[in-house]
């Protein structure tokens, strides 16, 4: 505690007292005037002014520094947000361009195969594209709209976390969507998309923070799940199946809003993420080629068609 006592009791630099004592001694020896009134030499006075100048500059620099940093952080955050939004828009545009190119490519390939009088192959490729999600599909089906509970929009209602992951009550989670989509597949869906994202064998429905991601693309509620298949059968089998039960449970317990609507004509887009990096068809030479990363892409359709029995790819 001696340090603290020292700091508390003798805050003044002991040097001042010592200097005063020395001056007093010198004055007593010489017999000069009162030491406290002794005028400072000019050189030393200038030094004091210089030090105080430096102190002033220090204070001003610290002030400017402290004032400058916070707006800088805020503006940096804004810049980052802008960059994220811009990059997201770029990604959207590229994805649309990609989809358009893919459609054109499909058409070209179909024509080319027809021209080579390999109509059977063209048909096979088209069918495989359809069931794998490589091409857009259209037909009658069921539209399931799932939305967060009405209370989620209001602030400060996160008092009762649902389940073990502590999200807001009434918010649609990735696992809810997974159950609904699985229910739809079980009910005989032939093609499914959520908010314009086609679900394929490689799709994942996940969550990051409060956003639900499908194929790593964040989606915003309401979630529109488009399903192709026999509308009436889809509807009845879904509502009586596990997916429908889960949905009713969510509606009853958490206020999640859901709506089922049959339609004569729905269109689900082609998947944009249908890429394999390592997997290659069995017995194919493509796997050993560098850069042959798209075994389900048009180039590899031939070997897929020969190696994979069609029946395993057919929907129930």
């Amino acid at each position: 505690m001696t340090l603290l006592t020292e700091v508390m009791m003798r805050p003044l630099d002991p040097g001042y007292e010592a200097a005063a004592r020395r001056r007093a001694e010198r004055a007593a020896q010489v017999g000069g005037p009162d030491p406290g009134a002794e005028p400072a030499p000019h050189a030393r006075g200038a030094l004091v002014v210089g030090v105080l100048l430096v102190v002033g500059v220090l204070l001003a620099a610290a002030f400017l520094q402290a004032r400058g940093t916070r707006p800088a952080g805020v503006s940096e955050r804004d810049a980052l947000v802008q960059r994220i939004q811009r990059t997201g828009a770029d990604a959207d545009r590229l994805q649309r361009a990609n989809a358009a190119t893919r459609v054109a490519l499909e058409a070209q390939r179909g024509r080319s195969l027809q021209a080579q009088s390999q109509g059977q192959l063209a048909e096979q490729v088209a069918r495989l594209g359809l069931v794998t999600g490589a091409v857009a599909a259209t037909g009658p089906g069921l539209e399931v709209t799932v939305d967060d509970a009405a209370s989620v929009g209001a602030a400060g209602d996160g008092s009762d976390p649902r389940g073990d992951d502590g999200t807001q009550d009434g918010r649609v989670l990735d696992q809810d969507l997974q159950l609904v989509v699985n229910g739809l597949w079980a009910a005989g869906a032939e093609a499914v998309s959520i908010n314009g994202q086609r679900l394929t064998a490689l799709s994942a429905i996940r969550s990051a923070g409060e956003a639900v991601l499908v194929d790593y693309r964040p989606l915003a509620p309401p979630y529109r799940i488009l399903t192709l298949g026999d509308p009436a059968e889809l509807r009845s089998r879904f509502t009586t199946g596990p997916g429908g039960r889960e949905l009713r449970n969510l509606q009853a317990n958490y206020g999640v809003r859901a709506k089922l609507a049959t339609a004569d004509r729905l269109t689900v887009p082609a998947s944009s993420g249908l890429v394999t990096r390592r997997a290659a068809p069995v017995g194919s030479v493509l796997g050993s080629l560098p850069g042959a990363g798209r075994s389900t892409s048009p180039d590899a359709g031939r070997s897929v068609g020969t190696d994979v029995p069609e029946s395993t790819q057919e929907t129930p």
Binding site: V7, M8, P11, L12, D13, G15, Y16, E17, A18, A19, A20, R23, G36, A40, R44, G45, L47, V48, V49, G50, V51, L52, L53, V54, V55, G56, V57, L58, L59, A60, A61, A62, F63, L64, Q65
Partner: protein, 110 residues
């Protein structure tokens, strides 16, 4: 009087010139400011006590700033920079408080 003008001139010069603090010196700026304030308030109190000595003031200012910066530098090298900064600020802060209290007693006799 002239030293006080020097302080004001320094603040004005700093505000007008807006010196940019180099990045390597930024962690030391707050500590240097606190150390400088300690020296200034110590000098003010000594002045009021009638024992002000310009040599002691200049040397105490320089050594205060240097030692404070050195402690922070050492702490950064050892990985305990923020803790040592806190220690420096606590000690100097207590001294500033006591000195300002003494100045207050001198000025207001209360």
């Amino acid at each position: 009087m002239i030293p006080a003008l020097g302080l004001v001139a320094g603040i004005l010069a700093g505000l007008l010139l807006q010196p940019t603090v180099p990045v390597w010196a930024q962690p030391y700026l707050p500590i240097a400011v606190v150390a400088a304030l300690d020296a200034v308030f110590g000098a003010l109190r000594a002045l009021l006590d009638g024992i002000f000595d310009d040599k002691v003031f200049v040397v105490s200012f320089l050594s205060n700033v240097f030692v404070a910066a050195f402690i922070v530098y050492l702490g950064d090298q050892l990985g305990v920079g923020s803790q040592l900064s806190t220690g420096v600020v606590v000690v100097l802060g207590i001294r500033i408080f006591s000195n300002v209290a003494a100045i207050r007693r001198h000025l207001f006799h209360a």
